[in-house]
Symmetry: C2
Subunit: 309 residues, 2 copies
Protein backbone atom coordinates (compact mmCIF):
# COMPACT_ATOMS: atom_id res chain seq x y z
CA UNK A 1 0.00 0.00 0.00
CA UNK A 2 2.41 2.67 -1.23
CA UNK A 3 0.97 5.86 -2.67
CA UNK A 4 2.70 6.36 -6.03
CA UNK A 5 0.86 9.51 -7.18
CA UNK A 6 -0.75 12.04 -4.86
CA UNK A 7 -3.54 12.97 -7.23
CA UNK A 8 -4.53 11.03 -10.33
CA UNK A 9 -6.86 12.72 -12.83
CA UNK A 10 -8.78 10.30 -15.04
CA UNK A 11 -9.95 12.07 -18.18
CA UNK A 12 -12.76 9.88 -19.53
CA UNK A 13 -14.44 7.36 -17.22
CA UNK A 14 -15.04 4.26 -19.32
CA UNK A 15 -13.93 0.65 -18.96
CA UNK A 16 -10.19 1.36 -18.71
CA UNK A 17 -10.34 4.40 -16.42
CA UNK A 18 -12.89 2.81 -14.09
CA UNK A 19 -10.79 -0.36 -13.90
CA UNK A 20 -7.75 1.76 -13.06
CA UNK A 21 -9.73 3.48 -10.31
CA UNK A 22 -10.72 0.13 -8.78
CA UNK A 23 -7.16 -1.19 -9.05
CA UNK A 24 -5.56 1.96 -7.61
CA UNK A 25 -7.98 1.99 -4.68
CA UNK A 26 -7.47 -1.70 -4.00
CA UNK A 27 -3.71 -1.16 -3.89
CA UNK A 28 -3.75 2.22 -2.16
CA UNK A 29 -1.71 3.56 -5.06
CA UNK A 30 -3.20 7.05 -5.38
CA UNK A 31 -3.66 9.72 -2.71
CA UNK A 32 -6.84 10.82 -4.41
CA UNK A 33 -8.57 10.12 -7.68
CA UNK A 34 -10.41 12.83 -9.55
CA UNK A 35 -12.21 12.48 -12.85
CA UNK A 36 -13.78 14.13 -15.82
CA UNK A 37 -16.41 12.81 -18.20
CA UNK A 38 -18.44 14.70 -20.77
CA UNK A 39 -21.69 13.14 -19.63
CA UNK A 40 -23.29 14.31 -16.36
CA UNK A 41 -24.72 10.82 -15.90
CA UNK A 42 -21.28 9.25 -16.10
CA UNK A 43 -19.91 11.75 -13.59
CA UNK A 44 -22.77 10.98 -11.20
CA UNK A 45 -22.15 7.26 -11.57
CA UNK A 46 -18.44 7.73 -10.88
CA UNK A 47 -19.25 9.43 -7.58
CA UNK A 48 -22.01 6.99 -6.71
CA UNK A 49 -19.87 3.88 -7.09
CA UNK A 50 -16.79 5.52 -5.63
CA UNK A 51 -14.54 5.62 -8.67
CA UNK A 52 -13.58 9.24 -8.01
CA UNK A 53 -13.26 11.43 -4.94
CA UNK A 54 -14.32 14.43 -7.05
CA UNK A 55 -15.57 14.85 -10.58
CA UNK A 56 -15.40 17.88 -12.86
CA UNK A 57 -17.46 18.92 -15.84
CA UNK A 58 -14.33 20.30 -17.50
CA UNK A 59 -11.12 18.42 -18.17
CA UNK A 60 -9.12 21.60 -17.51
CA UNK A 61 -10.35 21.77 -13.93
CA UNK A 62 -9.83 18.05 -13.39
CA UNK A 63 -6.11 18.14 -14.18
CA UNK A 64 -5.29 21.08 -11.84
CA UNK A 65 -2.80 19.91 -9.27
CA UNK A 66 -2.70 16.31 -10.51
CA UNK A 67 0.71 14.63 -10.65
CA UNK A 68 -0.67 11.95 -13.03
CA UNK A 69 -3.15 12.67 -15.80
CA UNK A 70 -4.58 9.69 -17.70
CA UNK A 71 -6.16 10.42 -21.07
CA UNK A 72 -8.76 7.64 -21.38
CA UNK A 73 -10.92 9.00 -24.19
CA UNK A 74 -11.31 7.66 -27.75
CA UNK A 75 -8.24 8.33 -29.88
CA UNK A 76 -10.14 10.83 -32.01
CA UNK A 77 -10.87 12.99 -28.96
CA UNK A 78 -7.27 13.21 -27.72
CA UNK A 79 -6.18 16.36 -29.61
CA UNK A 80 -9.03 18.53 -28.32
CA UNK A 81 -8.59 17.31 -24.75
CA UNK A 82 -4.83 17.88 -24.87
CA UNK A 83 -5.35 21.43 -26.12
CA UNK A 84 -7.89 22.10 -23.37
CA UNK A 85 -5.80 20.81 -20.46
CA UNK A 86 -2.43 22.14 -21.67
CA UNK A 87 -2.39 25.46 -19.73
CA UNK A 88 -3.68 23.73 -16.58
CA UNK A 89 -1.13 20.95 -16.21
CA UNK A 90 0.97 21.11 -13.05
CA UNK A 91 4.75 21.52 -13.27
CA UNK A 92 6.35 18.07 -12.96
CA UNK A 93 3.17 16.20 -13.85
CA UNK A 94 3.13 13.10 -16.02
CA UNK A 95 0.49 12.71 -18.74
CA UNK A 96 -0.19 9.27 -20.13
CA UNK A 97 -2.93 7.87 -22.37
CA UNK A 98 -4.52 4.47 -22.92
CA UNK A 99 -5.21 4.66 -26.65
CA UNK A 100 -4.96 1.58 -28.87
CA UNK A 101 -2.98 3.50 -31.47
CA UNK A 102 0.22 5.30 -30.58
CA UNK A 103 1.61 7.33 -33.50
CA UNK A 104 -1.65 9.24 -33.99
CA UNK A 105 -2.00 9.92 -30.26
CA UNK A 106 1.55 11.23 -30.05
CA UNK A 107 0.90 13.53 -33.01
CA UNK A 108 -2.31 14.75 -31.38
CA UNK A 109 -1.07 15.22 -27.82
CA UNK A 110 2.66 15.94 -27.76
CA UNK A 111 2.43 19.44 -29.34
CA UNK A 112 0.22 20.50 -26.42
CA UNK A 113 2.51 19.29 -23.65
CA UNK A 114 4.22 22.24 -21.93
CA UNK A 115 7.82 22.27 -20.76
CA UNK A 116 8.20 20.62 -17.36
CA UNK A 117 5.49 18.05 -18.07
CA UNK A 118 6.22 14.50 -19.28
CA UNK A 119 4.02 12.79 -21.86
CA UNK A 120 4.49 8.99 -21.78
CA UNK A 121 2.13 7.26 -24.24
CA UNK A 122 0.73 3.93 -23.09
CA UNK A 123 -1.62 1.15 -24.14
CA UNK A 124 -3.08 -1.39 -21.72
CA UNK A 125 -3.82 -4.52 -23.76
CA UNK A 126 -6.83 -5.46 -21.74
CA UNK A 127 -10.53 -5.00 -22.13
CA UNK A 128 -13.87 -6.65 -22.47
CA UNK A 129 -16.74 -6.08 -24.88
CA UNK A 130 -18.42 -3.81 -22.30
CA UNK A 131 -17.93 -0.09 -21.84
CA UNK A 132 -18.87 2.71 -19.49
CA UNK A 133 -18.05 3.51 -15.84
CA UNK A 134 -19.86 0.47 -14.43
CA UNK A 135 -17.93 -1.99 -16.63
CA UNK A 136 -14.61 -1.61 -14.83
CA UNK A 137 -13.11 -4.06 -12.37
CA UNK A 138 -9.88 -3.97 -10.45
CA UNK A 139 -8.33 -7.12 -11.86
CA UNK A 140 -8.67 -6.17 -15.53
CA UNK A 141 -4.93 -5.58 -15.92
CA UNK A 142 -3.65 -8.58 -13.99
CA UNK A 143 -1.11 -10.48 -16.08
CA UNK A 144 -1.90 -8.34 -19.14
CA UNK A 145 0.59 -6.31 -21.12
CA UNK A 146 0.70 -2.56 -20.72
CA UNK A 147 2.84 -1.25 -23.56
CA UNK A 148 4.61 2.07 -23.17
CA UNK A 149 6.04 3.95 -26.15
CA UNK A 150 8.25 6.59 -24.49
CA UNK A 151 9.49 9.54 -26.54
CA UNK A 152 13.20 10.22 -27.12
CA UNK A 153 13.32 12.87 -24.39
CA UNK A 154 11.28 11.02 -21.76
CA UNK A 155 12.67 11.46 -18.26
CA UNK A 156 13.78 8.05 -16.91
CA UNK A 157 12.53 8.83 -13.39
CA UNK A 158 9.04 9.76 -14.63
CA UNK A 159 8.98 6.59 -16.74
CA UNK A 160 10.02 4.45 -13.80
CA UNK A 161 7.34 5.97 -11.57
CA UNK A 162 4.58 5.32 -14.14
CA UNK A 163 5.88 1.81 -14.68
CA UNK A 164 5.71 1.11 -10.96
CA UNK A 165 2.03 2.14 -10.93
CA UNK A 166 1.19 -0.16 -13.82
CA UNK A 167 3.03 -3.07 -12.24
CA UNK A 168 1.28 -2.42 -8.92
CA UNK A 169 -2.05 -2.77 -10.78
CA UNK A 170 -0.92 -6.22 -11.93
CA UNK A 171 0.19 -5.41 -15.46
CA UNK A 172 3.30 -6.60 -17.27
CA UNK A 173 5.06 -3.60 -18.80
CA UNK A 174 7.06 -3.47 -22.00
CA UNK A 175 8.44 -0.63 -24.09
CA UNK A 176 8.09 -0.41 -27.83
CA UNK A 177 8.69 1.98 -30.67
CA UNK A 178 5.36 3.73 -31.52
CA UNK A 179 5.39 2.74 -35.21
CA UNK A 180 6.16 -0.86 -34.39
CA UNK A 181 3.42 -0.85 -31.76
CA UNK A 182 0.90 0.22 -34.39
CA UNK A 183 2.02 -2.54 -36.75
CA UNK A 184 1.84 -5.26 -34.10
CA UNK A 185 -1.59 -4.10 -32.99
CA UNK A 186 -2.88 -4.02 -36.55
CA UNK A 187 -2.10 -7.75 -36.68
CA UNK A 188 -3.19 -8.98 -33.27
CA UNK A 189 -6.14 -6.71 -32.64
CA UNK A 190 -7.25 -4.12 -35.19
CA UNK A 191 -7.61 -6.29 -38.27
CA UNK A 192 -9.21 -9.20 -36.36
CA UNK A 193 -11.79 -6.76 -35.03
CA UNK A 194 -12.58 -5.43 -38.50
CA UNK A 195 -12.97 -8.97 -39.80
CA UNK A 196 -15.29 -9.91 -36.96
CA UNK A 197 -17.39 -6.82 -37.58
CA UNK A 198 -17.56 -7.73 -41.26
CA UNK A 199 -18.66 -11.33 -40.68
CA UNK A 200 -21.36 -10.27 -38.27
CA UNK A 201 -22.51 -7.65 -40.77
CA UNK A 202 -22.71 -10.26 -43.56
CA UNK A 203 -24.87 -12.50 -41.41
CA UNK A 204 -27.09 -9.58 -40.54
CA UNK A 205 -28.28 -8.97 -44.08
CA UNK A 206 -28.50 -12.41 -45.60
CA UNK A 207 -31.90 -13.02 -47.05
CA UNK A 208 -31.93 -16.81 -47.20
CA UNK A 209 -30.86 -17.30 -43.59
CA UNK A 210 -32.94 -15.42 -41.06
CA UNK A 211 -31.46 -13.33 -38.29
CA UNK A 212 -33.23 -15.47 -35.71
CA UNK A 213 -31.53 -18.56 -37.17
CA UNK A 214 -28.18 -16.84 -37.06
CA UNK A 215 -28.76 -16.01 -33.41
CA UNK A 216 -30.17 -19.41 -32.42
CA UNK A 217 -27.45 -21.43 -34.12
CA UNK A 218 -24.51 -19.18 -33.38
CA UNK A 219 -22.54 -21.77 -31.42
CA UNK A 220 -18.99 -22.49 -32.52
CA UNK A 221 -17.35 -19.80 -34.56
CA UNK A 222 -19.81 -17.03 -35.19
CA UNK A 223 -20.56 -16.55 -31.50
CA UNK A 224 -16.96 -15.56 -30.77
CA UNK A 225 -17.04 -13.05 -33.63
CA UNK A 226 -20.13 -11.39 -32.24
CA UNK A 227 -18.42 -10.82 -28.90
CA UNK A 228 -15.57 -9.02 -30.62
CA UNK A 229 -18.02 -7.13 -32.83
CA UNK A 230 -19.89 -5.87 -29.75
CA UNK A 231 -17.00 -3.61 -28.73
CA UNK A 232 -17.38 0.16 -28.44
CA UNK A 233 -18.15 1.66 -31.89
CA UNK A 234 -16.56 5.05 -31.21
CA UNK A 235 -13.33 3.58 -29.97
CA UNK A 236 -13.04 1.27 -32.96
CA UNK A 237 -13.98 3.88 -35.54
CA UNK A 238 -11.10 5.99 -34.23
CA UNK A 239 -8.69 3.06 -34.22
CA UNK A 240 -9.30 2.37 -37.90
CA UNK A 241 -9.15 6.02 -38.90
CA UNK A 242 -5.91 6.61 -37.02
CA UNK A 243 -4.04 3.37 -37.70
CA UNK A 244 -5.12 3.38 -41.33
CA UNK A 245 -1.86 2.49 -43.06
CA UNK A 246 -1.00 -0.52 -40.92
CA UNK A 247 -4.58 -1.84 -41.00
CA UNK A 248 -4.85 -1.44 -44.78
CA UNK A 249 -1.53 -3.27 -45.17
CA UNK A 250 -2.71 -6.23 -43.09
CA UNK A 251 -6.15 -6.22 -44.72
CA UNK A 252 -4.49 -6.47 -48.12
CA UNK A 253 -2.48 -9.49 -47.00
CA UNK A 254 -5.58 -11.02 -45.45
CA UNK A 255 -7.57 -10.66 -48.67
CA UNK A 256 -4.79 -12.29 -50.70
CA UNK A 257 -4.55 -15.17 -48.26
CA UNK A 258 -8.31 -15.63 -48.15
CA UNK A 259 -8.45 -15.80 -51.94
CA UNK A 260 -5.83 -18.53 -51.96
CA UNK A 261 -7.90 -20.60 -49.52
CA UNK A 262 -11.08 -19.79 -51.43
CA UNK A 263 -9.43 -21.05 -54.58
CA UNK A 264 -8.34 -24.24 -52.80
CA UNK A 265 -11.97 -24.84 -51.79
CA UNK A 266 -13.20 -24.17 -55.32
CA UNK A 267 -10.57 -26.50 -56.84
CA UNK A 268 -11.13 -29.17 -54.19
CA UNK A 269 -7.50 -28.98 -53.03
CA UNK A 270 -7.87 -30.79 -49.70
CA UNK A 271 -4.14 -31.16 -49.15
CA UNK A 272 -3.63 -27.40 -49.23
CA UNK A 273 -6.44 -26.88 -46.73
CA UNK A 274 -5.25 -29.62 -44.39
CA UNK A 275 -1.66 -28.32 -44.35
CA UNK A 276 -2.83 -24.77 -43.73
CA UNK A 277 -5.11 -25.75 -40.85
CA UNK A 278 -2.36 -27.85 -39.29
CA UNK A 279 0.06 -24.91 -39.22
CA UNK A 280 -2.44 -22.56 -37.58
CA UNK A 281 -3.10 -25.08 -34.82
CA UNK A 282 0.50 -24.75 -33.65
CA UNK A 283 0.12 -21.01 -33.09
CA UNK A 284 -2.67 -21.61 -30.59
CA UNK A 285 -0.37 -23.86 -28.62
CA UNK A 286 2.19 -21.05 -28.50
CA UNK A 287 -0.36 -18.64 -27.08
CA UNK A 288 -1.39 -21.01 -24.33
CA UNK A 289 2.23 -21.73 -23.49
CA UNK A 290 2.91 -17.96 -23.31
CA UNK A 291 0.14 -17.69 -20.69
CA UNK A 292 -1.96 -15.42 -22.93
CA UNK A 293 -5.13 -17.54 -22.76
CA UNK A 294 -6.75 -20.36 -20.89
CA UNK A 295 -6.28 -23.89 -22.19
CA UNK A 296 -9.74 -24.86 -20.92
CA UNK A 297 -11.90 -26.15 -23.79
CA UNK A 298 -14.01 -23.37 -25.32
CA UNK A 299 -12.40 -20.83 -22.91
CA UNK A 300 -13.91 -22.82 -20.02
CA UNK A 301 -17.23 -21.44 -21.18
CA UNK A 302 -19.14 -24.72 -21.31
CA UNK A 303 -20.21 -26.72 -18.31
CA UNK A 304 -17.25 -28.14 -16.39
CA UNK A 305 -15.24 -30.67 -18.43
CA UNK A 306 -15.48 -34.27 -17.23
CA UNK A 307 -18.39 -33.39 -14.95
CA UNK A 308 -20.74 -35.66 -16.86
CA UNK A 309 -19.16 -38.96 -15.96
CA UNK B 1 -32.41 -43.95 -16.11
CA UNK B 2 -34.32 -45.42 -19.05
CA UNK B 3 -32.40 -47.48 -21.57
CA UNK B 4 -33.33 -46.07 -24.98
CA UNK B 5 -31.09 -48.28 -27.15
CA UNK B 6 -29.86 -51.74 -26.20
CA UNK B 7 -26.59 -51.47 -28.05
CA UNK B 8 -25.06 -48.29 -29.41
CA UNK B 9 -22.16 -48.59 -31.84
CA UNK B 10 -19.95 -45.52 -32.00
CA UNK B 11 -18.02 -45.45 -35.28
CA UNK B 12 -15.14 -43.08 -34.65
CA UNK B 13 -14.14 -42.20 -31.09
CA UNK B 14 -13.30 -38.50 -31.11
CA UNK B 15 -14.68 -35.55 -29.17
CA UNK B 16 -18.34 -36.05 -30.14
CA UNK B 17 -18.49 -39.84 -29.77
CA UNK B 18 -16.61 -39.83 -26.49
CA UNK B 19 -18.89 -37.09 -25.13
CA UNK B 20 -21.91 -39.17 -26.20
CA UNK B 21 -20.47 -42.17 -24.38
CA UNK B 22 -20.04 -40.16 -21.17
CA UNK B 23 -23.52 -38.67 -21.48
CA UNK B 24 -25.20 -42.01 -22.24
CA UNK B 25 -23.46 -43.68 -19.31
CA UNK B 26 -24.34 -40.82 -16.96
CA UNK B 27 -28.00 -41.12 -17.97
CA UNK B 28 -28.14 -44.92 -18.25
CA UNK B 29 -29.41 -44.45 -21.80
CA UNK B 30 -27.66 -47.35 -23.53
CA UNK B 31 -27.65 -51.04 -22.60
CA UNK B 32 -24.13 -51.29 -23.89
CA UNK B 33 -21.76 -49.12 -25.86
CA UNK B 34 -19.40 -50.59 -28.41
CA UNK B 35 -16.97 -48.71 -30.59
CA UNK B 36 -14.69 -48.67 -33.55
CA UNK B 37 -11.70 -46.48 -34.30
CA UNK B 38 -9.06 -46.89 -36.98
CA UNK B 39 -6.24 -46.36 -34.52
CA UNK B 40 -5.29 -49.13 -32.07
CA UNK B 41 -4.20 -46.47 -29.58
CA UNK B 42 -7.61 -44.80 -29.68
CA UNK B 43 -9.33 -48.16 -29.17
CA UNK B 44 -7.11 -48.91 -26.19
CA UNK B 45 -7.84 -45.50 -24.70
CA UNK B 46 -11.60 -46.02 -25.16
CA UNK B 47 -11.41 -49.22 -23.14
CA UNK B 48 -9.05 -47.77 -20.56
CA UNK B 49 -11.23 -44.77 -19.73
CA UNK B 50 -14.47 -46.73 -20.01
CA UNK B 51 -15.99 -45.13 -23.08
CA UNK B 52 -16.84 -48.50 -24.62
CA UNK B 53 -17.68 -51.94 -23.26
CA UNK B 54 -16.03 -53.47 -26.32
CA UNK B 55 -14.03 -52.10 -29.21
CA UNK B 56 -13.52 -53.50 -32.69
CA UNK B 57 -10.80 -52.97 -35.25
CA UNK B 58 -13.43 -53.13 -38.01
CA UNK B 59 -16.53 -50.97 -38.30
CA UNK B 60 -18.41 -53.91 -39.82
CA UNK B 61 -17.98 -55.99 -36.66
CA UNK B 62 -18.82 -53.05 -34.41
CA UNK B 63 -22.27 -52.50 -35.91
CA UNK B 64 -23.39 -56.15 -35.66
CA UNK B 65 -26.45 -56.33 -33.45
CA UNK B 66 -26.51 -52.60 -32.66
CA UNK B 67 -29.90 -50.88 -32.66
CA UNK B 68 -28.20 -47.48 -32.94
CA UNK B 69 -25.15 -46.81 -35.08
CA UNK B 70 -23.51 -43.38 -34.80
CA UNK B 71 -21.20 -42.35 -37.63
CA UNK B 72 -18.79 -39.99 -35.91
CA UNK B 73 -16.00 -39.82 -38.47
CA UNK B 74 -14.92 -36.86 -40.65
CA UNK B 75 -17.42 -36.16 -43.43
CA UNK B 76 -14.96 -37.32 -46.08
CA UNK B 77 -14.77 -40.78 -44.49
CA UNK B 78 -18.53 -41.38 -44.36
CA UNK B 79 -19.00 -43.03 -47.77
CA UNK B 80 -16.37 -45.72 -47.22
CA UNK B 81 -17.63 -46.49 -43.71
CA UNK B 82 -21.24 -46.69 -44.94
CA UNK B 83 -20.26 -49.11 -47.69
CA UNK B 84 -18.34 -51.25 -45.22
CA UNK B 85 -21.06 -51.52 -42.58
CA UNK B 86 -23.99 -51.81 -44.98
CA UNK B 87 -24.26 -55.65 -45.09
CA UNK B 88 -23.80 -55.90 -41.32
CA UNK B 89 -26.53 -53.54 -40.11
CA UNK B 90 -29.25 -55.17 -38.02
CA UNK B 91 -32.85 -55.20 -39.24
CA UNK B 92 -34.68 -52.31 -37.55
CA UNK B 93 -31.52 -50.44 -36.63
CA UNK B 94 -31.19 -46.67 -36.84
CA UNK B 95 -28.06 -45.10 -38.32
CA UNK B 96 -27.29 -41.48 -37.56
CA UNK B 97 -24.25 -39.31 -38.09
CA UNK B 98 -22.76 -36.23 -36.45
CA UNK B 99 -21.30 -34.52 -39.51
CA UNK B 100 -21.22 -30.72 -39.80
CA UNK B 101 -22.48 -30.90 -43.39
CA UNK B 102 -25.69 -32.70 -44.26
CA UNK B 103 -26.29 -32.85 -48.02
CA UNK B 104 -22.90 -34.41 -48.72
CA UNK B 105 -23.32 -36.94 -45.90
CA UNK B 106 -26.75 -37.95 -47.16
CA UNK B 107 -25.33 -38.43 -50.67
CA UNK B 108 -22.47 -40.51 -49.24
CA UNK B 109 -24.43 -42.67 -46.80
CA UNK B 110 -28.03 -43.08 -47.94
CA UNK B 111 -27.27 -45.26 -51.01
CA UNK B 112 -25.68 -47.83 -48.67
CA UNK B 113 -28.58 -48.08 -46.21
CA UNK B 114 -30.43 -51.38 -46.68
CA UNK B 115 -34.21 -51.76 -46.51
CA UNK B 116 -35.39 -52.11 -42.91
CA UNK B 117 -32.75 -49.70 -41.59
CA UNK B 118 -33.41 -46.01 -40.94
CA UNK B 119 -30.83 -43.34 -41.70
CA UNK B 120 -31.51 -40.12 -39.79
CA UNK B 121 -28.81 -37.52 -40.43
CA UNK B 122 -27.88 -35.35 -37.46
CA UNK B 123 -25.54 -32.58 -36.37
CA UNK B 124 -24.78 -31.73 -32.76
CA UNK B 125 -23.82 -28.05 -32.68
CA UNK B 126 -21.37 -28.47 -29.87
CA UNK B 127 -17.66 -28.89 -29.64
CA UNK B 128 -14.43 -27.51 -28.34
CA UNK B 129 -11.10 -26.93 -30.03
CA UNK B 130 -9.87 -30.27 -28.70
CA UNK B 131 -10.20 -33.66 -30.34
CA UNK B 132 -9.64 -37.32 -29.63
CA UNK B 133 -11.15 -39.85 -27.20
CA UNK B 134 -9.88 -38.09 -24.07
CA UNK B 135 -11.43 -34.73 -25.03
CA UNK B 136 -15.03 -35.79 -24.44
CA UNK B 137 -17.18 -34.86 -21.46
CA UNK B 138 -20.74 -35.74 -20.61
CA UNK B 139 -22.16 -32.22 -20.49
CA UNK B 140 -20.96 -31.17 -23.94
CA UNK B 141 -24.49 -31.25 -25.39
CA UNK B 142 -26.34 -29.60 -22.51
CA UNK B 143 -28.47 -26.73 -23.82
CA UNK B 144 -26.90 -27.06 -27.27
CA UNK B 145 -28.78 -27.60 -30.50
CA UNK B 146 -28.75 -31.01 -32.14
CA UNK B 147 -30.14 -30.55 -35.62
CA UNK B 148 -31.76 -33.48 -37.40
CA UNK B 149 -32.38 -33.45 -41.14
CA UNK B 150 -34.74 -36.43 -41.60
CA UNK B 151 -35.33 -37.82 -45.08
CA UNK B 152 -38.79 -37.89 -46.71
CA UNK B 153 -39.35 -41.55 -45.85
CA UNK B 154 -38.02 -41.45 -42.27
CA UNK B 155 -40.10 -43.57 -39.89
CA UNK B 156 -41.68 -41.27 -37.26
CA UNK B 157 -41.19 -43.82 -34.47
CA UNK B 158 -37.47 -44.18 -35.22
CA UNK B 159 -37.14 -40.40 -35.33
CA UNK B 160 -38.90 -40.01 -32.01
CA UNK B 161 -36.68 -42.62 -30.38
CA UNK B 162 -33.49 -40.92 -31.58
CA UNK B 163 -34.83 -37.55 -30.51
CA UNK B 164 -35.51 -38.88 -27.00
CA UNK B 165 -31.87 -40.00 -26.71
CA UNK B 166 -30.56 -36.58 -27.74
CA UNK B 167 -32.87 -34.79 -25.32
CA UNK B 168 -31.85 -37.18 -22.54
CA UNK B 169 -28.24 -36.13 -23.18
CA UNK B 170 -29.30 -32.53 -22.59
CA UNK B 171 -29.57 -31.30 -26.18
CA UNK B 172 -32.28 -29.16 -27.74
CA UNK B 173 -33.48 -30.84 -30.93
CA UNK B 174 -34.73 -29.18 -34.10
CA UNK B 175 -35.46 -30.47 -37.60
CA UNK B 176 -34.27 -28.75 -40.72
CA UNK B 177 -34.12 -29.29 -44.46
CA UNK B 178 -30.59 -30.54 -45.34
CA UNK B 179 -29.89 -27.81 -47.91
CA UNK B 180 -31.03 -25.10 -45.54
CA UNK B 181 -28.91 -26.62 -42.77
CA UNK B 182 -25.85 -26.35 -44.96
CA UNK B 183 -26.59 -22.69 -45.75
CA UNK B 184 -27.15 -21.75 -42.10
CA UNK B 185 -23.96 -23.53 -41.04
CA UNK B 186 -21.96 -21.83 -43.78
CA UNK B 187 -22.90 -18.53 -42.13
CA UNK B 188 -22.66 -19.30 -38.44
CA UNK B 189 -19.78 -21.75 -38.44
CA UNK B 190 -17.99 -22.72 -41.64
CA UNK B 191 -17.09 -19.30 -43.02
CA UNK B 192 -16.12 -17.88 -39.60
CA UNK B 193 -13.75 -20.81 -39.20
CA UNK B 194 -12.15 -20.21 -42.59
CA UNK B 195 -11.70 -16.54 -41.77
CA UNK B 196 -10.11 -17.31 -38.43
CA UNK B 197 -7.74 -19.79 -40.08
CA UNK B 198 -6.83 -17.12 -42.63
CA UNK B 199 -6.13 -14.40 -40.07
CA UNK B 200 -3.93 -16.71 -38.03
CA UNK B 201 -2.13 -17.73 -41.21
CA UNK B 202 -1.48 -14.10 -42.15
CA UNK B 203 0.00 -13.39 -38.75
CA UNK B 204 2.18 -16.47 -39.07
CA UNK B 205 4.14 -15.25 -42.07
CA UNK B 206 4.49 -11.54 -41.52
CA UNK B 207 8.08 -10.47 -41.67
CA UNK B 208 7.90 -7.14 -39.86
CA UNK B 209 6.05 -8.53 -36.85
CA UNK B 210 7.65 -11.56 -35.26
CA UNK B 211 5.75 -14.67 -34.32
CA UNK B 212 6.78 -14.28 -30.72
CA UNK B 213 5.25 -10.79 -30.69
CA UNK B 214 2.05 -12.12 -32.21
CA UNK B 215 1.91 -14.73 -29.49
CA UNK B 216 2.85 -12.42 -26.63
CA UNK B 217 0.44 -9.65 -27.56
CA UNK B 218 -2.45 -11.78 -28.74
CA UNK B 219 -4.95 -10.43 -26.20
CA UNK B 220 -8.24 -9.09 -27.48
CA UNK B 221 -9.24 -10.21 -30.94
CA UNK B 222 -6.53 -12.41 -32.34
CA UNK B 223 -6.56 -14.75 -29.35
CA UNK B 224 -10.17 -15.77 -30.03
CA UNK B 225 -9.32 -16.45 -33.67
CA UNK B 226 -6.52 -18.78 -32.70
CA UNK B 227 -8.87 -20.87 -30.58
CA UNK B 228 -11.17 -21.35 -33.56
CA UNK B 229 -8.19 -21.99 -35.82
CA UNK B 230 -6.97 -24.75 -33.50
CA UNK B 231 -9.85 -27.05 -34.46
CA UNK B 232 -9.33 -30.44 -36.06
CA UNK B 233 -7.73 -30.00 -39.52
CA UNK B 234 -9.22 -33.16 -41.05
CA UNK B 235 -12.73 -32.34 -39.96
CA UNK B 236 -12.50 -28.82 -41.32
CA UNK B 237 -10.88 -29.79 -44.59
CA UNK B 238 -13.83 -32.09 -45.21
CA UNK B 239 -16.37 -29.44 -44.21
CA UNK B 240 -15.02 -27.00 -46.78
CA UNK B 241 -14.72 -29.60 -49.51
CA UNK B 242 -18.26 -30.88 -48.97
CA UNK B 243 -20.13 -27.63 -48.27
CA UNK B 244 -18.28 -25.85 -51.06
CA UNK B 245 -21.16 -24.00 -52.75
CA UNK B 246 -22.62 -22.48 -49.60
CA UNK B 247 -19.21 -21.53 -48.22
CA UNK B 248 -18.11 -19.94 -51.51
CA UNK B 249 -21.35 -17.97 -51.60
CA UNK B 250 -20.85 -16.57 -48.11
CA UNK B 251 -17.14 -15.95 -48.72
CA UNK B 252 -18.03 -13.91 -51.79
CA UNK B 253 -20.41 -11.77 -49.75
CA UNK B 254 -17.83 -11.44 -47.00
CA UNK B 255 -15.16 -10.21 -49.42
CA UNK B 256 -17.54 -7.60 -50.89
CA UNK B 257 -18.47 -6.38 -47.43
CA UNK B 258 -14.85 -6.27 -46.31
CA UNK B 259 -13.91 -4.19 -49.34
CA UNK B 260 -16.63 -1.67 -48.51
CA UNK B 261 -15.26 -1.28 -44.99
CA UNK B 262 -11.69 -1.19 -46.29
CA UNK B 263 -12.70 1.63 -48.63
CA UNK B 264 -14.34 3.50 -45.73
CA UNK B 265 -11.06 3.27 -43.82
CA UNK B 266 -9.07 4.44 -46.84
CA UNK B 267 -11.44 7.37 -47.46
CA UNK B 268 -11.62 8.25 -43.76
CA UNK B 269 -15.40 7.72 -43.66
CA UNK B 270 -15.87 7.55 -39.90
CA UNK B 271 -19.64 7.80 -40.05
CA UNK B 272 -19.90 4.66 -42.16
CA UNK B 273 -17.66 2.75 -39.74
CA UNK B 274 -19.50 3.98 -36.65
CA UNK B 275 -22.92 3.06 -38.06
CA UNK B 276 -21.71 -0.38 -39.11
CA UNK B 277 -20.15 -1.14 -35.72
CA UNK B 278 -23.29 0.02 -33.94
CA UNK B 279 -25.49 -2.40 -35.90
CA UNK B 280 -23.26 -5.40 -35.23
CA UNK B 281 -23.37 -4.69 -31.50
CA UNK B 282 -27.12 -5.35 -31.45
CA UNK B 283 -26.63 -8.88 -32.81
CA UNK B 284 -24.48 -9.80 -29.83
CA UNK B 285 -27.29 -8.77 -27.51
CA UNK B 286 -29.66 -11.05 -29.42
CA UNK B 287 -27.31 -14.01 -28.95
CA UNK B 288 -27.05 -13.46 -25.22
CA UNK B 289 -30.82 -13.07 -24.91
CA UNK B 290 -31.28 -16.32 -26.84
CA UNK B 291 -29.13 -18.07 -24.23
CA UNK B 292 -26.47 -19.01 -26.80
CA UNK B 293 -23.57 -17.48 -24.89
CA UNK B 294 -22.55 -16.12 -21.54
CA UNK B 295 -22.92 -12.40 -20.91
CA UNK B 296 -19.87 -12.45 -18.63
CA UNK B 297 -17.23 -10.01 -19.90
CA UNK B 298 -14.69 -11.72 -22.15
CA UNK B 299 -16.63 -15.04 -21.79
CA UNK B 300 -15.91 -14.90 -18.06
CA UNK B 301 -12.33 -15.69 -19.02
CA UNK B 302 -10.63 -12.92 -17.04
CA UNK B 303 -10.37 -12.81 -13.28
CA UNK B 304 -13.80 -12.43 -11.64
CA UNK B 305 -15.45 -9.10 -12.49
CA UNK B 306 -15.74 -6.64 -9.60
CA UNK B 307 -13.37 -8.75 -7.51
CA UNK B 308 -10.78 -6.02 -7.43
CA UNK B 309 -12.71 -3.49 -5.36
Amino acid sequence: MTVIYQRVALIGLGLIASSMAHAMRAGGLAGEIVGHAKSAETRATALEIGLCDRVYASAAEAVEGADLVVLAVPVGAMAAIAAEISPHLAEGATVTDVGSVKQAVIAAVQPHIPAGVQFIPGHPMAGTEFSGPRSGFGTLFVNRWWLLTPLPDTDPAALERLRSLLIAMGAKVNEMDPAHHDQVLAVVSHTPHLIAYTMVGVADHLAQVSNSEVIEYSASGFRDFTRIAASDPTMWRDVFLTNKDAVLDILGRFAEELFVLQRAIRMGDGEHLFDYFTRTRAIRRGIIEAGQDTSAPDFGRVAPPKAGV
